[in-house]
């Protein structure tokens, strides 16, 4: 298992009571973007950060990276106060919907960012070739970013996040705007970074990916932390329902479950986990053939939807909570 499974592993990203109150408009009306967020990300973890639109994921990341000043709480990156520019030395960051200098080619752009970390030219050149290959942009290395498509920019963004060979990667929606191959590429890249002992903290709306690759997940709803743990801890082992594929005889009229698909005599029935045995017995008694039995586990998606529902009343208080 990854070192993350031991809770004694070093903390590389820590938030303590982090909060952000936005004040906008002429009357400076307060709006809580993030409230009292405390969490630890440990070395070697892949940590997912999920929540509906407007939950405060980007707000958290911007505060961490020093793009916005948190209005309360504190945070540490690699053991240093996040407001200290030096805390960013070992961090790679990909912003949401990244924009870069359009007048530069991908290679020039990566050279520029590498020099911001003080990397010598030879080191940069070697690393840039390697990174461009990793995000599959070698063919476009000398094309100005102006001419890049959305997904290509996203890949260039991932490459710049890796230019300093960071110990901690902070990615805001790294899979957005990517084609299925691109998503797979990012997934592999995240795995690869973990294999090398790196830590990855990323936000995403693609829950299937989060479920697949994250060691731990935090759920943010309405600016508040609503869940934190491994996917298994959050989702549980609970079986939601069982889908039985069967071939029924023509005589069959009453089926022991909800028909979710019917194609001639091929039927898929959905039954509760405790009704499975009974349903199969009845089907077989009536002469139907059982083709497959598939249990469906809970997914992160339903956990998230539940949390959103439960948070609804809290969410309404978010506006003007300080008034």
């Amino acid at each position: 298992m990854s070192p993350a499974s031991s809770s004694t592993a070093e903390v590389v990203l820590r938030c303590e009571g982090l909060g952000k109150v936005y004040r906008s408009g002429f009357f400076r009306i307060p709006y809580v973007g993030l409230e009292d967020l405390s969490l630890d990300v440990r070395r070697g973890e892949i940590f997912g950060f999920i929540g509906p639109n407007g939950a405060g994921k980007t707000t958290t990341i911007k505060c961490l990276m020093g793009l916005q000043a948190a209005t309360s709480g504190k945070a540490e990156l690699l053991g240093k106060d996040h407001r200290d520019p030096e805390s960013k030395r070992g961090v790679g960051f990909l912003p949401e919907r990244p924009y870069f200098y359009e007048h530069l080619t991908a290679r020039e752009f990566l050279h520029f960012y590498g020099s911001l970390f003080g990397l010598p030219k030879a080191v940069r050149a070697a690393r840039i070739d390697e990174l461009l290959a990793r995000v599959q942009l070698e063919r476009f290395a000398d094309v100005p970013l102006r001419a890049y498509s959305k997904g290509m920019l996203q890949r260039a963004g991932v490459a710049q996040a890796l230019i300093n060979d960071p110990e901690l990667l902070v990615l805001d929606e790294p899979m957005s705007g990517l084609d299925p191959m691109g998503r797979l590429l990012i997934r592999d890249l995240i795995f690869e970074e973990r294999r090398r002992g790196r830590t990855v903290f990323f936000s995403s709306h693609i829950l299937a990916d989060v479920e697949l690759i994250c060691d731990r997940v935090a759920i943010l709803v309405g600016g508040r932390l609503r869940g934190l743990g491994t996917v298994r801890e959050l989702v549980g082992d609970r079986i939601k329902h069982v889908d039985i594929a069967t071939r029924v005889t023509a005589a069959e009229t009453e089926l022991p479950g909800e028909v979710i698909r019917r194609d001639g005599d091929a039927v898929i029935l959905r039954v509760g986990p405790d009704d499975t045995d009974r349903a199969i017995d009845r089907l077989r008694a009536s002469g139907a053939a059982i083709l497959s039995v598939t249990p469906a586990r809970e997914h992160l998606e339903s956990v998230l939807l539940d949390e959103v529902q439960r948070a609804a009343p809290i969410n309404q208080k978010r506006l003007g909570v300080l008034a």
């Binding site: 793009l67 960013k88 912003p95 990244p98 924009y99 870069f100 200098y101 020099s115 911001l116």
Partner: protein, 254 residues
């Protein structure tokens, strides 16, 4: 190294910008047109040509300072390129000063280009320029350094249109500073005198850099004036840049 990287990128960005070329194109056009005047003016032709050509260099330099300066920081925030810079191990002052130095590099390149053209024209038409012409370019550089610092200050908290208005206001008031002072001292009302006094001390006095007439007439510029104006310009620039750093450091990026 970081300072240099940011300055170099700013330089490259502006040099690759087409807007710059239209400014250069017009500058070259005006400089060449001043030659034609040699043919059509009567009286002290040489001086008229020198006045128009040197005036053109000053005018294009100021336009460049203001119009490249006002977008310098704002554009980075608007295009979100600042996100990936500020999140690197870089102090915010490095960003502002780096951008400033990069743009000054561009402005210096342009002044050098126009000066080169001027010298070539003079050598073919009138003979070599006097020392005071070169000194006037140094004064222009210091003046544009100050003007650019103001433009960056405005650029770090407001949109280009507002920043342009403020910068132009600074430019105009700066050139009228001596007049404001003189006019203010003669005013009847005590309040007007006080306001004139405050304006005089807070706003830049760009007239100290104005040695246009001396340069045109090839008259020597007093050494004390050069030293005084240079010290004033550099000191004032440092103050305005510090203000820009302070404003930029307190900013949230949306």
């Amino acid at each position: 190294m970081q300072l240099w990287a940011i300055a170099a990128n700013t330089y490259r960005e502006n040099i690759r910008d087409r807007v710059l070329y239209s400014i250069v194109f017009f500058a070259v056009l005006v400089l060449c047109a001043s030659l034609v005047m040699e043919e059509i003016t009567i009286g002290d032709q040489d001086k008229v040509v020198r006045s128009v050509a040197l005036g053109a260099i000053r005018a294009f330099g100021s336009v460049m300072s203001i119009f490249l300066g006002i977008g310098l920081v704002y554009k980075e925030i608007e295009k979100k390129t600042v996100y990936t810079i500020v999140s690197k191990p870089i102090a915010r002052w490095v960003f502002i000063v780096g951008k400033y130095l990069g743009l000054m590099g561009v402005i210096l390149t342009m002044i050098a280009l126009m000066a080169g053209l001027y010298i070539t024209l003079m050598l073919t038409q009138q003979g070599p320029p006097a020392l005071s012409v070169y000194e006037s370019w140094w004064m222009l550089t210091v003046e544009l350094g100050l003007l650019t610092a103001w433009a960056i200050l405005f650029s770090s908290y407001s949109a280009p249109i507002t920043a342009a208005s403020f910068s132009i206001a600074v430019f105009v008031i700066g050139h009228l500073a001596d007049d404001i002072w003189r006019f203010g001292l003669q005013a009847e009302s005590e309040q007007v005198r006080q306001i004139a006094g405050i304006l005089y001390w807070f706003l830049p006095n760009l007239s100290v850099f104005n040695v246009h007439d001396l340069a045109v007439h090839h008259l020597p510029i007093p050494f004390t004036q050069l030293v005084h104006a240079t010290g004033y310009g550099l000191g004032y620039t440092a103050v305005v840049l510090s203000l820009a750093v302070w404003v930029f450091s307190g900013r949230d990026f949306k």
